[in-house]
């Protein structure tokens, strides 16, 4: 199976879950999904396509909190970045994928403390990098975070 067939197969499998598909280069695919579909999409990549979960990147943007879940198909050398936009910045929430694979446990804890995203169903949302005494409601990777200046 060549890359084009593989990609069109993935696209048709995901169906209308894909809101916007962008092939930046042959090895870098970005696509947007509705946040409610994240568990299904993660299941598809991890269980069905046997993809490796690299990591997730949380980004604070003017439109909301974006989470990019990076999955890799090492046998063909393609990185898929699944983008979920959480519009409500006051209370950003998304379902946890930590029950699917253990590699997501730490990064969800990290995004919880640094960006203030609540991961519904995470087994243990507690501080990973910051101290337990870190003030509540202060999220260092948010744009409006001013530090203790």
């Amino acid at each position: 199976m060549n890359k084009t067939e593989l990609l069109s197969g993935i696209k048709s499998n995901l169906g209308n879950k894909v809101l916007h598909w962008h092939e930046k280069s042959p090895n870098r695919i970005y696509f947007d999904i509705n946040p409610k579909d994240i568990v299904d999409v993660a299941k598809f990549f991890y269980n069905h396509k046997k993809a490796r979960f690299n990591i997730a990147s949380g980004v604070d943007t003017p439109k909301g909190i974006e989470i990019l879940y990076h999955f890799t198909l090492d046998n063909v050398g393609i990185v898929f970045s699944v983008r979920a936009l959480l519009v409500d910045k006051k209370k950003p929430e998304i379902n946890s994928i930590a029950s699917l694979f253990k590699g997501a446990i730490w990064i969800e804890r990290e995004m919880w403390e640094l960006l203030g995203v609540n991961f519904i169903g995470h087994p243990e949302l507690k501080h990973l990098l910051l101290d337990d005494a870190w003030p509540k409601g202060q999220y260092p990777l948010r744009r409006d975070y001013k530090g203790d200046k």
């Binding site: 990591i55 990076h70 990777l141």
Partner: protein
Amino acid sequence: MATIIPIGPYHPLQEEPEFFQLHVEGEKVLKLDIQLGYNHRGIEKLAESKTYDQILFLVERICGICSTSHPMAGVNAIEDLGNIVVPERALYIRTVICELERIHSHLLWLGLAGHFLGYNTVWMWAWKAREAVCDMFEKISGNRQSYSMMKVGGVRRDIPKDDVPEYLAAMDALIPTMDMFKGAIMDDPVLHARLKGIGVLTKEDAISYGAVGPIARASGVDIDVRRDHPYAAYPRLDWKVIVCQNGDIFDKTVVRLLEIFESIKMVKQALKEMPDGSIDSNPKELPIGEGIGQAEAPRGEVFHYVRSDGTNRPTRYKVRAPSYMNVATNETTVVGETVSDAAIILAAVDPCYCCTERMAAIDRDTGKTILTAKDLLRLCREKTEKIAKQFRR
């Protein structure tokens, strides 16, 4: 009696301060708690206020051992963002630097592992061999560590042709030393008894934790960024990915040991076949967009994500080091093993774990110290000695 053994968090030799709490009953480890963040420096946040050129110096300071892995992933990410073409010669120089780093990093780990097991001769010899590599780095870049070689579009310094024979000779001289290590480790019945079947990470767990690098490869997961997501000059070189199946400490050692031979081969080939020409394409601008860079560090895949709004500073710079995925695997590998094996199991992940001096076993009920750091190191070495005696009979 439930007992918690705290390990860490600080030690000058440790690459990343971490705090392990071993829950033990008698000799047996029941559970492991890992706490991170003791050296969190806010590098991702800091990167948002730096220019792309400055960021490479910043990320070079993430790791004190494999210092070039992060700049390598960084240039890959920024070049992916801007679709920047890099001159061939620069790609070869990048490969030489990255592979030399793998050699010195693996030798450093080998020495420390020997030290933990009471094989102090291995420690001294491995670090002696590592010196030759650090000397090469000094001659190439001016620094034994943090070489500042990577630059968006190329490399900062050339490797003069006149110096190449000297480097080739240094690599050749390393081969007999490595052969000696190979024999001493792979044929040693004591090490077999001490390391085989200990601290096993199953293939399923390696995949679930997203383990990378030698940890994944020792558990039969055949992944290597250098082959799967080609960068630098790797696709042009003749080498193979080392994979073992058992996932125990012995296989983790074997993977690293054999990788050193592959690295020596690659450095020699790259030095010999390096084409002439420019070492820098000098890109001036970056577009709006995003980029992903991967690089195979000695400990596994480094992953960088960068987002640009078209200015000279990124709006987001995400870094994922390999130990972020690998250290978590200790949660399963150490459970069910004995306290005397804990030091080497946690060390086998190669987080440059050396906080043995900070170990102390405390009775949870009375708060009284029952085992000191020295005791634990002694336990680890006594087990080796005990096994060695059986073989001497």
